[in-house]
């Protein structure tokens, strides 16, 4: 009986923690969702401009758009800084791991988020750069720094392909691990782009946009991944709280039964004792 009481208490305090984490995550989720929405127009406009330039100049072939034979790869992997978020971290890390399954050599890694750093460090990947604790409040300048590293490696031929792995925020309850090609860049030919005068030249503008675009891509991915993390954690904690509630219920039932049983035995003892005296 004492044991059951102790367990009820411990489940109760765990429930308190999970409930608190659930509440924190849902408020952070709200903020993160807003940031993700604010970051999107910039990214969309940049992408549109890139596609317009690419559409207008069919012979435009900068180093950033031409596909090369892929020998070395760079993966930018975005995971969370903390656990307790259901399958959030493991899903995106597994996706990154399976993406290079057929390759002769392991890709180089830029790891964002403590969990990603730990994962790739343990498996002895070549980590080019790592960033922890930046996801909640990523600044455009930092995104630019990360993008510059990737661009420089791509330009110098150190890597022939840059992929980014993050978790897409579908809704508060669904998040999907995603892989996206960052470099070489894929542009969509637009049907209806109209003519545009570029100053000084389309190539110059294009080259100018590329770093901005990659930075914005990273920024958007990080912001989105962060929203996903909060969403995943909220769902996980909600389930944990529900489980704790169910457990407390069945434990208290057990406890009450045991209490009843002990009272009954006591009464029987007293009654049988009294009748023996008569």
């Amino acid at each position: 009986m004492k044991d059951i009481k102790r367990r009820i208490k411990s489940v109760g305090s765990t429930r308190q923690i999970t409930k608190a984490m659930e509440l924190v995550s849902s408020s952070k989720l709200r903020k993160a969702k807003m940031r993700a929405e604010q970051a999107r127009p910039y990214f969309n406009e940049l992408y549109k401009s890139l596609c317009e330039i690419a559409s207008a100049n069919t012979d435009l072939s900068t180093i950033f758009t031409v596909k090369r034979e892929v020998k070395h790869r760079l993966f930018i992997v975005i995971a969370g800084d903390r656990g307790l978020a259901g399958g959030y971290n493991s899903n995106v890390l597994k996706l990154a791991a399976s993406a290079h399954a057929g390759d002769a050599e392991k890709p180089k890694i830029i790891a964002i988020g403590k969990k990603a750093i730990e994962y790739f460090d343990k498996r002895e990947y070549d980590i080019v750069a790592s960033y922890a604790g930046i996801a909640e409040n990523i600044k455009p300048n930092l995104a630019q720094d990360i993008a510059d590293i990737a661009i420089e490696m791509f330009r110098s031929g150190e890597v022939d392909d840059v992929q980014i792995f993050y978790t897409m925020f579908v809704s508060s309850i669904t998040q999907e691990a995603q892989q996206m090609a960052m470099l070489p860049m894929e542009t969509v030919k637009l049907e209806n782009y109209g003519t545009m005068n570029y100053d000084p030249s389309p190539e110059a503008v294009f080259n100018r946009i590329i770093p901005r675009f990659t930075a914005s891509l990273i920024q958007c991915a990080v912001v989105e991944a962060y929203a996903s993390e909060q969403g995943a954690r909220r769902t996980a904690m909600e389930n944990a709280t529900d489980n704790a509630d169910a457990m407390t219920e069945s434990l208290s039932l057990l406890y009450n039964r045991a209490r009843q049983a002990s009272i009954t035995t006591e009464i029987i003892d007293i009654v049988s004792g009294a009748s023996a005296q008569e």
Binding site: Q38, A143, D199, V205
Partner: protein, 134 residues
């Protein structure tokens, strides 16, 4: 002057979405003024000042790196940062300027020097622009 649609967007938020009569931006090849009915035009922007005219008065802003795109429907300015002159924190800009100057002196490599110079240019631009604040 006939007003036209203008959007100023940074990675963090949409800074401006409304109508203006005239804008002047600093592109990599020089200052360019845009009025209503301008031909489709696209250029890269460097670190510099931008002027946006509303109700006959110019509003100044410090911007850094991006592009401007003029189409028949609207003008879009995509920049890394954009701060209106009355929003600039001059003490912070001054501190950034001094820090950048210190780093220029202490720079070990070309890359560090280039970075510090860009920071200085950005800080000076913000200080200059703040001078137009009301």
């Amino acid at each position: 002057m006939t007003p036209f649609k203008l959007q100023i967007i940074t990675p963090e938020k949409t800074v401006f979405d409304g109508e203006t009569e005239q804008i002047v931006v600093r592109t990599t090849v020089g200052d360019v003024g845009i009025l209503n009915g301008h031909e489709p035009y696209c250029a890269a922007l460097g670190i510099g000042q931008m002027r946006v005219m509303m109700d006959g008065e110019f509003r100044h802003a410090a911007t850094s790196g991006g592009i401007i795109k003029v189409s028949h429907e609207k003008t879009t300015i995509l920049v890394q940062t954009c701060e209106w002159s009355d929003e600039i924190d001059v003490t912070r800009a001054n501190a950034a300027k001094e820090a950048a100057e210190g780093r220029i002196k202490a720079a070990q490599s070309d890359n560090e020097l280039r970075l510090a110079e860009a920071k200085l240019k950005h800080a000076l631009n913000r200080i200059d622009t703040a001078g137009f604040g009301k």
